[in-house]
């Protein structure tokens, strides 16, 4: 069982300024959206791994990825069935649908699904860092600094905090129902929906009670007193952080430059392109990936330097 909860593992990544991590996540997302070539996307996905490993969140990452793979499989299958572009026909369905024409499965359709799955994997992989390696209170501070309204940020942060409590609640209620002879997974579809609905009612009702209690407790500690709020801890940006940010931004800039100079594009339709990179293209790509990975390296160096 993996608990989907932030826990401070004290790694260099956990210790790093949240702005650096947020910038890095943004950087991976931008690059993932920028490039089309499956080679670029695959390597980009893989290049998020050092950060995951350095933050020691691989267990959480794996469980998220299991879900992501399922999602990707869905994308590939659906795209293969729906897209009838592409010229390498693997299977032609023996019937036709009005307007859409005769459905067929093409190599291009499948490969497009695969390519875009890689894009999705890179983005999800980067977001696990947001979930498991950025302190929620720090994230909140960063959001407030970014001029988002404090109350909305607080509500969002609170709602994520109470997700584990909600899961516990649901488990307990389901156990209670089972102890009264309810078989949750028995019966037809309608019966099962009814069974699960019987969990939803107490769950909802308990959550409402909880919401009132939390609000009461916050009110008692002067939440929303009208004054401009101060902050006990602030996000200090050190010179080291600025260096890391500079590298992260430069990797975005370098990526944009590569893309503009024609690298990393890819054509699926009508005929899938062959993947071939020139020696200089490979070099450039590796430089880019190295730039993306300067964050964990510099974070490590920074920790070393601060200890000396």
């Amino acid at each position: 069982m993996v608990s989907y909860k932030y826990s401070d593992k004290g790694t260099v990544i956990h210790r790093l300024n949240p702005w650096c991590k947020l910038a890095w996540i943004a950087c991976v997302c931008i690059l993932a959206l920028l490039f089309d070539s499956p080679v670029y996307l695959l390597l980009l996905s893989l290049s998020t791994l050092p950060v995951i490993l350095a933050a020691r969140v691989w267990k959480e990452w794996l469980s998220v990825m299991k879900f992501a793979f399922f999602l990707c499989l869905l994308i590939i299958v659906i795209n293969a069935l729906v897209s009838n572009q592409g010229s390498n026909v693997l299977y032609q369905f023996p019937f036709a649908i009005p307007i859409a024409g005769a459905p067929r499965i093409t190599l291009e359709g499948i490969l497009w699904g695969v390519g875009n799955s890689l894009r999705l994997l890179a983005i999800i992989s980067a977001f696990t860092v947001l979930m498991f390696a950025i302190h929620p209170d720090d994230l909140m501070l960063a959001m407030v600094k970014a001029k988002l309204p404090y109350k909305s940020v607080m509500v969002t942060s609170l709602s994520t905090k109470f997700v584990p409590a909600l899961i516990d609640d649901a488990q307990r209620i389901a156990d209670g129902k089972k102890s009264r002879g309810l078989e949750l997974d028995r019966g037809g579809r309608i019966q099962r929906v009814k069974s699960y609905a019987s969990i939803a009612i107490p769950l909802l009702s308990n959550s409402l009670d909880r919401a009132v209690q939390v609000a009461e407790a916050m009110e008692s500690r002067a939440f929303g007193s009208g004054q401009k709020r101060t902050f006990y801890k602030e996000l200090k940006i050190s010179k080291g952080d600025i260096t890391i940010l500079a590298f992260v931004f430069s990797s975005i800039a370098f990526g944009v430059f590569l893309r503009c100079s024609g690298q990393g594009g890819f054509q699926y339709y009508p005929v899938v392109e062959a993947v071939s990179l020139t020696a200089s293209e490979w070099t450039m790509l590796f430089v880019l990936l190295l730039l993306v990975n300067t964050m964990p390296i510099l974070a490590l160096l920074k920790r070393k330097a601060s200890l000396d």
Binding site: G176, G181, G224
Partner: protein, 574 residues
């Protein structure tokens, strides 16, 4: 100083007053214990003190509440936050940040204190409450007692003059409760903070209080010093749990013996602590003639559990049970246990000692990792929860987790329906069960709107309508007022006499002492002791009832050392 004049309050949409004609003055530095039956208005009164009523909870309010000269009606909860600190019942639902130190800073941040001031006050509050070692921990990882202390520290950082605690220990285990109450007492002693504490279990805190106020039906029915209030017969009739020591003192006095608590007190007085009781009783015993029933080592002969069990076929048989959770936590380590018909077994132990894990095997909610569990002849490993629930009823702690139907009747019918008992067959069973639990008048009401005790009865009825041979209750008395507890226990006692078994997971020593007959003590997933309650509880330190601590100390006067309850003590002294 708090001054309340002619306060009456109705929650909106409710024609029954939550508070009626309250007149009260509380001086600075007082330690006030607020008690009374649930639904009596304790929480409502607390909410009036920091303006949650009427600013957060709307309703009709008349009268006047003044805190340090400020009229609560005109000043918001936020303004009052620096005067009145509120700590609530559920430790989960009052912490809003991830880290302990930020939690302490939360109120100060809201009030826009400068960063330096916040840092200083967080530091102070951590030390005052004695939780400096927790400062960097995540609040979600803390135990209940630790969370509650964080909650206290977080209001303390606002420098309140008054601390209001609404049943702060009802969700905690005895150790956690002890830690929290120690802190509260110290704040009152050393910092002179006025404390208003709502509590059901008085034995632990009564000695420290200056004043006890009893609230019933929204009215103050008793108000005065703890010794006079608790020895007042009317108060004990209202359902307030009178500590066993005081009950004993009352009985001793009614027999014409005098009790002297302190040397200076020449008049009769009521002991509040074990120590006072010890001194008083020792004096009384020294001066009175020894009588026949004394001078025995045991109150009643100990019946060896084996001889009692041998002639009956056990309902539950556990053989070398191990349970490992998916996160590799080994919760139960090689447990062997037999439960026979007619037994009332209390399973005790610290938090996370494996109590709940063990009993969840009895109705199939958990399956053994290794070993065997046989329930009524069925191998629980292969049976589903639904199959086992004909034999085993499992009642969870919080009745809110049980109830979801539109009426009380449907709640009962739901269980029967799942077991395949429908329509005409179910009708008499439902009627009978409703009758038995005194729920007939609530038959068509929405169960979640009933009071706490009624909800508990509906939850119990919804399980027992299936007439299981074994009933398991997981911490049923936590946060329950005394009268309801006693009612529940009496019912369970009747139930097991019908050749059924009752298994109670609990940390409530006094209840176990009074009602169960066998205690299984767990620690770190293993059985430490398993035996008759008299044997187990009279040889324990933390797990011994108040009266037993007294009996142990009075052995030299010929008082049997295995006495557990006030009634037994009275019998032995007679």
């Amino acid at each position: 100083m708090i001054s309340i004049k002619n306060l009456t309050f109705y929650y909106s949409g409710n024609d029954k007053s939550a508070l009626r004609d309250i007149n009260l003055e509380i001086q600075d530095g007082e330690f006030v214990l607020l008690t009374g039956p649930s639904g009596g208005g304790k929480s409502s009164l607390c909410r009036c003190l920091n303006g949650l009523i009427p600013h957060f909870y709307g309703g009709k309010i008349t009268g006047k509440v003044e805190v340090n000269g400020l009229n609560v009606m005109k000043h918001s909860t936020k303004e009052l936050a620096t005067m009145v600190g509120m700590v609530f019942q559920d430790p989960e639902n009052q912490l809003v940040t991830v880290d302990v130190d930020r939690e302490l800073a939360f109120g100060l941040e809201n009030l826009a204190f400068a960063k330096e001031v916040i840092a200083k006050r967080v530091e102070e509050a951590l030390d005052t409450v004695g939780i400096a070692s927790l400062r960097h921990r995540a609040t979600s990882e803390l135990s209940g007692g630790e969370k509650q202390r964080v909650a206290i520290a977080s209001v303390l950082a606002l420098y309140p003059d008054i601390l209001v605690l609404d049943e702060p220990t009802s969700e905690l285990d005895p150790k956690g409760a002890e830690d929290v109450l120690n802190v509260v007492e110290r704040l009152n002693d050393e910092l002179g903070i006025t404390v208003i504490l709502v509590e059901h279990r008085l034995d632990r805190v009564v000695a420290h209080s200056d004043r006890v106020i009893v609230l019933e039906n929204g009215m103050i029915t008793a108000d005065g010093g703890p010794r006079s209030i608790l020895s007042d017969g009317r108060v004990s009739q209202s359902g307030v749990g009178i500590p066993p020591i005081i009950k004993l003192a009352q009985a001793v006095k009614s027999r014409g013996m005098s009790l002297r608590v302190k040397r200076s007190n020449l008049i009769d007085d009521t002991p509040l602590t074990v120590k006072e009781g010890r001194i008083a009783l020792a004096k009384t015993l020294r001066h009175s003639k020894p009588c026949a029933s004394r001078h025995s080592e045991f109150f009643s002969p100990v019946i060896a559990s084996e001889t009692k069990q041998s002639h009956l076929k056990p309902l539950i048989e556990v053989k070398n049970l191990w349970h490992v959770y998916p996160d590799d936590f080994v919760a139960v380590k090689g447990i062997n246990l037999k439960v026979c018909p007619g037994e009332f077994v209390a399973i005790m132990g610290r938090n996370a000692s494996g109590k709940t894990t063990l009993v969840k095997h009895f109705n199939g909610l958990l399956k053994p990792t290794r070993g065997d569990v046989t329930v009524g002849g069925i191998n629980a490993k292969e049976a589903t929860v639904a199959e086992l629930c004909r034999k085993v009823g499992y009642v969870f702690q919080n009745p809110n987790d049980h109830l979801f139907c539109d009426t009380v009747e449907e709640e009962l019918a739901f269980t029967l329906n799942n077991l395949g008992v429908k329509g005409g067959e179910a009708e008499p069973l439902i009627n009978q069960t409703l009758e038995r639990f005194g729920l007939t008048q609530y038959r068509y009401q929405y169960p979640r709107f009933l009071s706490g005790g009624e909800k508990q009865r509906v939850a119990l009825a919804s399980i027992l309508v299936a007439q299981p041979q074994i009933i398991i209750l997981d911490e049923p008395t936590r946060g329950m007022e005394y009268r309801l507890k006693a009612e529940l226990m009496k019912f369970l006692d009747e139930y097991r006499r019908e050749c059924r078994a009752v298994i109670l997971v609990t940390q409530d020593v006094e209840m176990v002492a009074e009602f169960s007959d066998r205690v299984v003590l767990l620690s770190e997933g293993k059985i430490v002791v398993d035996g008759p309650k008299r044997e187990v509880l009279s040889q324990a330190l933390l797990f011994s009832p108040q009266i037993n601590r007294l009996a142990q100390a009075l052995k030299s006067y010929g008082v049997p050392g295995d006495i557990l309850t006030a009634d037994e003590m009275i019998e032995a002294l007679a």
